[in-house]
Amino acid sequence: MNDMTVFDVEKIRGDFPIFEEKIHGKRLTFLDSGASAQKPVAVLDAVQDAYRHTYANVHRGVHYLSQKSTELYEGARETVRDHLNAASVDEIIFTKSTTEAINLVANSFGQMAIGEGDEILLSYLEHHSNIVPWQLVAERVGATVKAVPIDTNGDLLRDRYEEMLTDRTKIVAITHVSNAIGTVNPVKELIAKAHSKDIPVLIDGSQAIPHMKVDVRDLDADFYVFTGHKVFAPTGIGVLFGKAELLEKMPPYQGGGDMINRVTFEKTTFATGHSKFEAGTPPIVQAIGLGAAIDYVNKIGFDQIAAHEQSLLSYATQELGKLNNIRIIGQAKQKAAIVSFTMDDIHPHDIGTIIDQAGVAVRVGHHCAQPLMDFYDVPSTVRASFALYNNKEDVDALVESIKMVQEFFR
């Protein structure tokens, strides 16, 4: 897969047209990939080509364009299957986002397996997308949502996790990597513990997939979800992997075209495999773009990507640590390339606005992780998140701009 012998970040930056932009006349320092990543030419071309040369609706047509379009769409499914090492394409469902994928499972699995008095186990590290869908289903059926606490470094409390796995627990839904503070959870072990009590596990891989190779069979995940736009793919596409044995038993989520076997007003029967969960015209071209994005990262290779990002993470942590009044939030044993911090007396919003004028794009706010913010007793943080196209200069620009903020508010 890996046909680059050295990781050349400048060459990679050249693949991303956005870096030609000037921001307020300055070089773009893009440290907001955790919110959404930029797109390489390979993805943009795949999108354009699909619309220009082979576009038509999929599945139901016998004509040439429909056939080509179906081949590309189903080809993208195979690319995702292969990338995740899933057993079958029937285990790969295209959604519009992680959020939709989790809602699908919360509703469909919930309807099947979660009842009054049952428990759904999350963690304090979760994104709202892996909290609210479960709260909605819990309220509907009379179940309870519980959350595994963390220590101040941002590591999950493993003994608490094991205690909280009870015979009332019907599912565990936990993030692979925290979007707010970068903690990498030991998901393989967490899954094994849950399975020892026959509890299925959903892993939210939104922040993992851009940074590491994931093997759902090695993890033995029951559900694994991610969103395309964070892994250099178009917006509007997400993935739900689910074990076939579970998906087969689950009722459909949305109703519509393509997910049926036979419709009458008296009785409708449903399709099998992934089709059951893909109602209506899917995000065809976005799935094709996702396939191209996965090919792109695999060509570079995750060993290289991870090594590069980890060196940026160390450098950024070290340089930010030299500044006064900076408090880094989240110091987990294993971290993805995400640095969250606060500054004494200066609010993240003001920091964000000021450094933007220097072309530095970070995310400020609660990162859709308010329970985690509450845990650290901060309303919000500044978050710099790194991707394969970031370089040392980006870290230096961030540090310089933070000095400017300190100057400004002196």
Partner: protein
């Protein structure tokens, strides 16, 4: 146009215009059903299992395109009088035709199966050719088949 001629060979047009073994049979011991949700086509397959476990009689009904009707018609000819085990292995053979490029040259595959090889150039139509075979398989196995074939004992 060459591909088309290869798809709609004479034998296929012939079977589609004058399907053999069309209609319910009586008495009938097993029934299988196949739906193609993409186009709405349906095939029902009827069997009478003889005392010696052979398919003493076979019939089919359904609406479908030339490919699916011809495939059904040729299939009934092929399996009538054979054993259940034989019919099942023919079903597997038939699927192999479309998944394995070398299968075409296997001498043990009947020409009435190979006649449908032209469908390979039309991927969206492969399902039309296999639909009746899935219905047969459903009837034979008494289990819900992959294509939602349904079966019931006695019909």
């Amino acid at each position: 146009m060459e591909d088309l001629k290869d798809l709609y060979r004479e034998i296929i047009l012939d079977h589609s215009k004058s399907p053999r073994n069309f209609g319910k049979i009586s008495p009938c011991t097993h029934e299988g059903h196949g739906d193609n949700p993409l186009c709405g086509d349906e095939v029902s397959l009827y069997l009478r299992l003889g005392e010696d476990e052979t398919l003493a009689d076979v019939g089919f009904e359904g609406k479908g395109c030339a490919i699916s009707i011809a495939s059904a018609s040729m299939m009934t000819e092929l399996v009538k009088g054979t054993s259940c085990a034989d019919a099942k292995s023919r079903f597997q053979q038939f699927l192999t035709l479309f998944s394995d490029d070398s299968a075409q040259s296997h001498s043990d595959i009947d020409d009435r199966m190979k006649a449908l090889i032209g469908v390979k150039q039309f991927p969206m139509r492969v399902k039309c050719a296999t639909l009746p075979w899935h219905a047969l398989n459903a009837a034979l196995s008494g289990i819900k088949s992959k294509d939602d074939g349904e079966t019931k004992d006695g019909c």
